[in-house]
Subunit: 389 residues, 2 copies
């Protein structure tokens, strides 16, 4: 659907300049505005964000208004379902691939806009909380020397309002770089060069497992994934050392099950599209690893439990009159960040209750209860005897 765009908005966005910098026709920019794919956001910084990809422009790309700047979206990483044929086919023009850990947190891009840091989430929103953390964890030194680059990495730890995993022995929140790219073009720095740069500035990189020849990488990745054992490490990303080809990802069955376990607790809020690809991954992995009956049996049990147990728990909670919520926490130095983060969640359409900040050292811990409205309503209605369509 097309909508009228106000002259004020057009004025804020210099479509001609943007089109030139992004190397796409200007009508694509104005068309995206009209179709509300390119959305104006006023807080905590004025910007326009691409809600979905348009031509060659990734979803999550942000165009800052004042000062004018562009931060390209982080490209979607395709997934390999069968390691051997997948790696060999995708990296046919490489001799070697690098394997790094895919961590379980939330994707963050950090860039210098004017003279301040901005930390963007995958969708192209500036997250005020992540920005406060980025100032502390990353600082400005890197950007003073490389103003045209952005750091792409995973924010990981228990003080995460999005993915509060605590499998890594992290106290609050840490940032692990997995990519350095040009802000405006999105062009990536080669893997080893990037890792050296990260080290030079005293920052953290995601774990490097090694560099392997293309036709043996599937064996190494299998070893790595199996080596995770019962730990919930998510998986790996397999990369062309030169970063000329896009990377691909591969995940462990346990982390897959953990995802399902999480999503089915809030079953009616997570779309049915969440489930299906995860099930397919399980089946292809079982075939590629040529599992015996016992391993298959365990995999089926794990899958079934990851789906049903959280739903049963949710239904029982609702039966007891509880509200279906998830509690996450943030740890801030500045209480203004809490207010800004409230506004940010509101923009994202997340329904949340903020508890009173508790002082912890020189910071404040704030617990946030996210409310899963659709799951609450659906479960409630069925318990009250409503029919399923």
């Amino acid at each position: 659907m097309r909508h009228d765009v106000s002259p004020e908005l057009l004025d804020k966005l210099d479509a001609g300049k943007v089109a030139k910098l992004l190397d796409i026709p200007e009508y694509r920019i104005t068309g995206a505005l009209e179709r509300r794919i390119l959305q104006y956001i006023y807080s905590p910084r004025e910007l326009f964000r691409f809600d979905k990809p348009v031509s060659s422009i990734e979803g999550g790309t942000a165009i800052f208004v004042e000062p004018f700047d562009i931060v390209r979206g982080f490209p979607k990483i395709s997934r390999v379902l069968m390691l051997y044929p997948g790696i060999v086919k995708h990296f046919s023009s490489c001799e070697k691939v690098v394997v790094e850990e895919k961590m379980n947190g939330y994707n963050t891009r950090i860039a210098f806009i004017g003279d301040t840091l901005a930390a963007l989430t995958r969708g192209g929103f500036v997250c005020p909380y992540t920005t406060e953390k980025a100032n502390k964890l990353v600082g400005r030194e890197f950007f003073h020397n490389h103003p045209g680059l952005m750091l792409c990495g995973e924010m990981v730890g228990p003080d995460s309002p999005y993915v509060p995993k605590s499998i890594y022995d992290i106290e609050s929140l840490e940032f692990f770089v997995f990519d350095i790219r040009e802000k405006v073009s999105g062009k990536p720095v080669p893997v080893m060069e990037r890792r050296a740069l990260v080290e030079e500035y005293g920052l953290n990189s995601v774990r490097l497992f090694g560099e392997y020849s293309v036709d043996e990488a599937h064996l190494e990745v299998t070893k790595i994934i199996k080596g995770f054992g019962s730990a919930l490490n998510e998986g790996v990303v397999i990369k062309d050392p030169q970063m000329a080809l896009p990377p691909v990802k591969y995940t462990s069955s346990l982390s897959n099950s953990a995802d399902l376990r999480y999503a089915f607790e809030f079953y009616n809020d997570y779309g049915r599209d969440f489930f299906f690809p995860r099930v397919c991954r399980e089946a292809f992995q079982s075939v590629e690893w040529d599992e015996d009956e016992e391993s298959q049996r365990k995999r089926c049990q794990r899958l079934g439990e990851s789906i049903l147990q959280p739903m049963i728990k949710t239904i029982n909670r609702k039966k007891e009159g509880e509200r279906i919520t998830e509690t996450v926490q943030i740890r801030v130095r500045n209480l203004r960040t809490v207010d800004e983060f409230k506004e940010h969640l509101r923009l994202l359409g997340v329904d949340a209750i903020f508890e009173e900040p508790e002082p912890v050292g020189d910071e404040y811990l704030v617990k946030i209860r996210k409310i899963f409205k659709s799951t609450n309503d659906k479960t409630d209605s069925i318990l009250r005897g409503e029919l399923w369509s």
Copy 2:
């Protein structure tokens, strides 16, 4: 999207007369034609069918051209997920409910059109094979005396091209009536009156479990479902004896699992929407039956196996170079029915290979291999190393 409708088509369909008989405004009829919701079908009988519901008209409603007649679609039956609150709420205006078996076959409406029988599948297509079977199994006597009624029932047995289950010890195909309705209005006959009528004409009814008071029916249904044990009986339909309220259905976990097992063998052809509601049923049933740990564990194992085992089998078959197909069979007296049925499957968009008819007694058995193109292609591409988007 709206399309032009040819005058020839408008001529075949007397929209004014149809509107009057269906008691909806005429523009709804012409609008449905333009939006291709009301579709013209030329074989094996000329008719217009509603592909989806329009106002109060059920999807699958058919308007015959020559002679003019209307056969209303079979109404969608809602599902109860929690027996106790569901039954009590839905049937609050009844004292008693009747519980009948929900059989595992395909929904068929049989009606007299002019002076011949027509057997319609759920979608409102006249199925030439089912029509041949209806002539043999049901005959014309009932319709000579009740030309304005249609028999609604389940076609069950191994010689079924749609749902070839053989849990009932049926040799070829049998028809079990579960509803008698007025052809044009869809108005149902009360349960006991209907069962008497069916018996009077020597036809089969679905199994009657009993009539129960509304507030105890959930206990009886639980007993019935648990009594199925390891048999694959699908479930029950719970009805207002007067049929003034619409019935509701409830199914067993084993049959639920069997459905999943079937669908995941052809995982990319069955939508992801197939999976989700089936999983929800399992969770609510487990909660309502207050299962202990061991029963829950078994339910999870069953669910996981129903999902993964068929996919693993499919991937392995494809790896061995096999084509992913399902073989069904029909048994006909008249070879012309085979040709008509071929055309019918073509209309439905089903890709199928018909084997040579084998004479069996005075009939022919014809094996049909249905090809699941999407599952074939997807599995093949991943085995060749394509990435998952």
